[in-house]
């Protein structure tokens, strides 16, 4: 028995060795072109559309060749890039999710900020072309771009018009405030128009990160971490406690249903189970394909009477980072800069937006899509952009820069789960989230001290 096992192990390892050796890149056909490695974390069909953008750049000129490679989910891509950097072999460009921003920014020496790239290569990349809420997320406090914005989304409200009608609500009047949202959700469940009135995906993103931005209250001190690593979470304010308490109460009444972490609740809206849903604007293609009912979209709600609400929402998604390496040449950096300039062209931005459902990140891209009649043909497709640009970003709605944010997101989800399970009160859950989150922030500060 043991010999067999050992044999299997050797066989598996041998296969592994063969696989690894076959992965070593062979010299490309177009060896005379400057080669740029680009690692991304988008699954199909988005990954294919991104690779088409890259192919468009390669076809647009004959000096540079960008090679796009899929490296798994965002966290997997991040780990792959980190491992490659440690081995002295980082890709030129890596796509990184928005919550990895603080980690990347702290890795000075591993990355080359976009403003530096632009200055060194003489290729202009003007931050002013970008929407404030997008630009702010990836810029230094004084407004210089550090990473290259690309695929951005923002959470919006999706609602089932058929269920609204059945419940006696006006399907053309989506709730504007949380009070109206809860009333509508209650009515939908009471009249059995849908089994569940309300749910949300990406609980931390929708209920804390964007909830804070829209109500113009901080998620964390120091402008949500933008002004320094010595930041602390602020999500146990009376407004936050009240909001969690309402959700806990409505969960008991069967009006609100917790659908799980991250994107796990996404299925609950197109299946018709939950009539009001807060989730990514990037759901559009899926809802179009799967929903067998009339639906609409609206901006995220706010609690009536909150000063400053509604403020603009913040983004999710990813940006492109330039990585350094011992063997980089000026020509390679130049190629990267040219590629960045290409993807920020209005026609590329508008096409990406219309093909995928991500928001346009440049004002010119939005104008172009608008001019082509896209929003007339697709009612509501402009809502994410309008919500994102609703006001000038404040220090609570510019974005977040918290170290180890993916871990903090999980902590907040865990504490919400404890509250929904009845293990903790709303106040206890949020106090504990703040305390654990601050521990994570202090660890980050300690490991990344300059």
């Amino acid at each position: 028995m043991l010999t067999t096992l050992r044999f299997c192990r050797i066989a598996i390892l041998a296969i592994g060795v063969i696989l690894v050796s076959s992965l070593v890149p062979t010299p490309g056909v177009a060896a005379q072109k400057v080669q740029v490695e680009f690692w991304h974390g988008l699954t199909q069909p988005l990954g294919g559309i991104l690779e088409n953008v890259v192919a468009g750049f390669n076809a647009s000129q004959d000096k540079y060749q960008v090679n796009a490679t899929f490296k798994g989910s965002y966290p997997e891509t991040m780990v792959a890039a980190i491992a490659a950097f440690r081995a002295g072999n980082a890709p030129h460009i890596v796509q990184m999710f928005e919550v990895g921003t603080a980690t990347m920014m702290a890795a000075r020496g591993a990355i080359k900020p976009v403003y530096e790239l632009s200055k060194e290569t003489g290729v202009t990349i003007d931050p002013k072309n970008y929407v404030g809420g997008v630009r702010g997320y990836y810029s230094t406090p004084d407004g210089r771009l550090v990473s290259m914005p690309f695929n951005s989304s923002t959470p919006i409200a999706w609602y089932n018009k058929d269920a609204f009608k059945k419940a006696g609500l006006d399907p053309e009047k989506p709730p504007r405030t949380w009070e109206e949202t809860w009333a509508a959700a209650k009515k939908i469940v009471a009249t059995k128009a849908a089994p569940c009135g309300y749910t949300m995906a990406w609980p931390t993103w929708t209920q804390y990160e964007n909830f804070g931005a829209i109500h113009n209250v901080p998620l964390a001190t120091k402008a949500n971490g933008m002004d320094g690593m010595d930041t602390e979470l602020k999500i146990n304010s009376p407004l936050h406690v009240k909001h969690l308490q309402v959700m806990m109460d409505l969960q008991k009444e069967g009006v609100f249903k917790y659908g799980g972490r991250d994107g796990k609740a996404d299925a609950l809206f197109p299946s018709g189970e939950c009539a009001i849903f807060h989730g990514s604007s990037g759901m559009r293609a899926r809802v179009v394909r799967e929903a067998k009912f009339n639906w609409g979209v609206a901006m995220l709600p706010y609690y009536k009477g909150t000063p400053g609400a509604p403020t603009n929402s913040i983004i999710g998604g990813a940006s492109f980072w330039v990585m350094t390496g011992p063997k980089r040449t000026t020509e390679e950096y130049k190629a990267v800069a040219e590629f960045f300039q290409y993807i920020s062209r209005p026609e590329v931005d508008a096409k990406w937006h219309m093909d995928t459902g991500y928001v346009p990140i440049t004002l010119a891209g939005f104008a172009l899509a608008s001019g082509q009649g896209y929003y007339i043909k697709n009612p509501g497709a402009d809502i994410p952009f309008r919500q994102l640009t609703l006001t000038e970003p404040t220090e609570n709605s510019r974005g977040l820069r918290l170290g180890n944010m993916p871990e903090i997101r999980v902590v907040i989800q865990e504490e919400m789960e404890k509250a929904f399970q009845g293990q903790e009160t709303a106040k206890q859950a949020l106090d504990s989230a703040v305390q654990r989150g601050n521990g994570i922030l202090r660890n980050f500060e300690r490991t990344n001290r300059q």
Partner: protein
Amino acid sequence: MRRRVIFPNKVLPYLLLAPQLAITIVFFFWPAAQAIYYSLLLQDPFGLRTQFVWLENFRTILTDPLYLGSIRVTVIFSTAVAALAMGTALLFAVMADMGIRGARIYRTLLMWPYAVAPAVAASLWLFIFHPSIGIIGRGLNDLGILWDYKLNGTQALLLVILASAWKQVSYNFLFFLAGLQAIPRSVIEAASMDAGPGRRFWSIVFPLLSPTSFFLLVVNVVYAFFDTFGVIHALTDGGPAKATETLIYKVYTDGVMNLDLGGSSAQSVILMAVVITLTALQFRFIERRVHY
């Protein structure tokens, strides 16, 4: 009874061993040594700033209530998975070993789950037990039994135990069946003279199966410790509220998601020690007492 083979050539045996040794060193000893080294460091993910902190990472982990909670989950999880997977497999093997009609078909069908990748297996279970899209999950809720493993920790743990055990039943079944068939018929027939099937099983068959059982026990515990990652990852992500976060899942979360290399390495080192101890115990002490 030990036989010694004397090789006249001093170099040849090492040469023959070299490929295996090279693989062991590259894939086992080197990473293990690196894990030990990193467990003593405090480092940012890119390796730009490194501090040597001695055993601080271990101190942090062992005083962390969340880590202790994870140990508790792992013990419950592993015991349940091993017991369930082995118990069910033994039952099936005994039944398939009897001369029932179509035994061959049952045997073949019972081996299938082993060929299913953990993540795929988890997806299958998800489609059965998901509270809103799963057949049984919906059924339970319709019957008035509140089933929601995304919020109920006990249910989540139960679900990952079931899914993990289900995948391992095939493997155990194969070994038990082989073990049963290796028992000489004459012994069973002699016992049939004055004992019923139950007595026969417990007094003759079960003791004779003990080498297989002990081998499977180690394999199953190791499986529950290390190979159930895919199931947990696809079904619960360690949640809700850490209810299904086993030690190996925590190593992944802390190392890959949270990029805490030192802490994650320290946890790996602890796990490594656990496995070495388990295996050593098994082969040193328990196996000697097993009746072959």
